[in-house]
């Protein structure tokens, strides 16, 4: 389908696809198996300027928007959803600075991110604050010109690998979510350490660790916006980042679908390729239609974000909900088409199925997305 991309966007997509095909595909199984962080691929993405596609030109970016980031994430995810997350997770960690950072903070942090010299990570989740993000226990206490942070963030993407961490911590417990604030913490800051690397079902090339803050001293100028804005910053960040997760889901689904179509043409059973059986054809048709519908929703949502629309919470949630469900369904069906081979780790499709699952969970579970969608629908109805 023609999505009427600009010339620059088509160029971005094509380059990301080339990197995915030539550089990521050959190593995807290796990184999945070893759970190593794919630094050589991050270097290639950096040299290709892909880390800066959504950042303004004055900070070393290419001046595009969320759609540009989605195009890259989707293409990389076609080859490996885990490696793509090193890229997409940096986007998530960067958005609070891009959306709410001061001019000084943007000048300080964005150029290194745009150039791919530094990765970023976003830290909100805690052991007892997942979907209930408002109940975070990490605290930030102001002392003179600095804040002292204490607490443990859990399941943080890019933790240990990234140089820049945007952290949500409570500056005033009595105010609940209105007492949360957002901080930028650089790797190397005293009191910032990392837990062991988590062993995961999928996206195993992605680094997931605890971020442990022990009397971590953060200069006051690293507070994003002002005290009490943390929860709003986090929610607005998710509104802009969810199309990215959805794009990752679309990429994973497309990657699995490509394998399934190709395999069905070459797998001979009952004396003919299984692609000649209507049972397989109808599965492929449904998969293809679902992926295209998800892509259309993701691109439309990303464009809405880029247009500067006031509220995109509902649409972003819809895009993530739909695309992640499609990814799970399509990758499961891809394994089915491969049959017994699909279940074997020697073949590529079971990995897509493992990678797909996380897209229904992180950055808000599918259930939380439904809450957001319904809440916004009801709110819109009341306003009418």
């Amino acid at each position: 389908m023609d999505y009427l991309l600009t010339e620059q966007q088509a160029m971005i997509r094509d380059l990301a696809r080339k990197i995915a095909d030539e550089k990521i595909k050959p190593v995807a199984a290796h990184y999945d198996e070893t759970e190593e962080f794919a630094w050589p691929i991050m270097k290639i993405l950096a040299d290709s300027d892909l880390f800066g596609v959504y950042l303004p030109e004055q900070y070393g970016g290419l001046g595009g928007g969320i759609l540009d980031m989605c195009l890259v994430t989707e293409e990389l995810s076609r080859a490996c959803g885990g490696i793509a997350l090193g890229y997409a997770g940096t986007g998530l960690g960067t958005l609070p600075i891009l959306l709410y950072g001061s001019e000084e903070q943007k000048q300080r942090f964005l150029p290194a991110i745009a150039g791919g010299k530094k990765l970023a990570a976003f830290c909100i989740t805690e052991a007892e604050a997942g979907s209930d993000a408002g109940s975070i226990k990490t605290t930030a206490r102001k002392e003179g010109g600095k804040y002292i942070l204490n607490g443990t963030k859990q399941w943080i993407t890019n933790a240990g690998e990234a140089e820049i961490y945007t952290v949500i911590a409570s500056t005033d417990k009595s105010k609940g979510v209105r007492g949360a604030s957002a901080f930028i913490i650089e790797k190397g800051t005293k009191g910032l350490t990392f837990g062991k690397k988590e062993k995961k079902m999928g996206i195993r090339a992605s680094a997931t660790r605890e971020v442990i803050l022990t009397d971590c001293e953060v200069p006051a100028e690293n507070l994003i916006s002002r005290e009490g804005m943390g929860y709003i910053i986090a929610m607005k960040t998710f509104d802009s980042s969810r199309p990215g997760v959805a794009a990752q889901a679309v990429g994973i689904a497309q990657g699995a679908l490509d394998h399934a179509v190709e395999y069905s043409r070459t797998r001979i059973q009952f004396g003919q390729p299984i692609s000649s059986f209507q049972a397989i054809q109808h599965m492929l048709a449904d998969m293809g239609t679902q992926v295209e519908a998800a892509r259309a929703l993701v691109y439309a949502t990303a464009r809405m974000v880029d247009s500067g629309a006031r509220s995109v919470a509902k649409e972003s949630a819809m895009a993530k909900l739909f695309a992640s469900d499609v990814a799970m369904k399509v990758t499961t069906d891809a394994v089915q088409i491969f049959g017994g081979y699909g279940y074997m780790r020697e073949y590529p499709v079971e990995k897509y199925m493992r990678d797909a699952k996380i897209t229904q969970i992180y950055e808000g579970t599918s259930q939380i997305q439904r809450n957001i969608i319904a809440a916004n629908m009801i709110k819109e109805s009341i306003k009418k």
Binding site: I12, L15, I19, E22, D47, D49, G52
Partner: protein, 260 residues
């Protein structure tokens, strides 16, 4: 350091077909790409620039659409691009081509290093690089797999041979042809691609490079192609069976029959 890298646009060999009637390459409708060996030369040129500073000029001779190959090279980090293009160049063999490129290089002027791929994937002659150095009367080192040391006046390089490699020291300016072992070419960057999109490669004609008209194109090419054909496929050999004494005799008779 001023570096010149010579490239050629060739048909993408993975989908080249031979016309069964004329036995020539079918070029129509075939995607054109930078000669794969030249990609290593471009990469090495850009790495030399990153190592020593200076400027990389990419040069090609070809039809107007060869400009696409130059833009690709600019996206990969070359700074300036020159296309020498003229109807008068049509039919050039390796002698006339290297003469023409040498004339263009004289017009570019100051240079320390010229880099070429070891050969082109369509002609496979490996003659144009050495030809350029001969026309310019500068030293050449072919099949370079590593530039060990390089300064303003001298370079030490490793030259691949069938048994291993030679270490060669040469004064500069010098022409190197490179093999694929020398590096892994990078992918283009988006900023490079955008810069390349708006760049305007210099376009020079035969007149611009002050070339001798008699030395150009088909007239300037001593090579005459008599016939191009696809070699007949070799049939399988014949195995002689029996004890050694018998088959020796049989073999002698067979060889006699073949009048060898």
């Amino acid at each position: 350091m001023n570096i010149i890298v010579c490239i050629k646009q060739v048909p993408n060999t993975t989908d080249v077909k031979i016309d069964p009637v004329t036995n020539t390459l079918i070029r129509e409708g075939v995607e054109s790409v930078i000669n794969p060996f030249d990609a290593y030369a471009i990469e090495e040129a850009v790495r030399l620039k990153e190592r020593c500073g200076g400027k990389v000029t990419v040069l090609t001779m070809g039809p107007p659409q060869a400009e696409n190959a130059l833009r690709e090279a600019l996206a990969l980090g070359c700074d300036e691009a020159v296309l020498v293009s003229d109807r008068k160049f049509a039919g050039s063999d390796t002698w006339a081509t290297s003469y023409t490129l040498a004339a263009a290089i004289r017009k570019i002027g100051d240079f320390d290093v010229i880099l070429c791929g070891k050969q082109a994937s369509d002609g496979d002659t490996a003659q144009v690089g050495p030809g350029i150095s001969a026309h310019l009367d500068i030293p050449q080192v072919t099949y370079v797999k590593k530039i060990e040391e390089i300064s303003g006046t001298v370079a030490k390089v490793e030259r691949m041979t069938e048994e291993g490699y030679d270490v060669v020291e040469t004064p500069l300016p010098c022409l190197f042809t490179v093999v694929k072992e020398i590096n892994t070419p990078r992918l283009p960057s988006l900023k490079g691609m955008m810069r390349a999109k708006s760049a305007k490669p210099l376009k020079w004609t035969a007149e611009d490079i002050e070339a001798d008209p008699a030395a150009l194109g088909l007239d300037g090419s001593p090579t005459r192609v008599i016939k191009i054909f696809t070699p007949e496929q070799r049939k399988g050999g014949e195995m002689l069976k029996g004890d050694t004494a018998d088959i020796s005799k049989e073999l002698v008779e067979l060889l006699k029959d073949l009048v060898i």
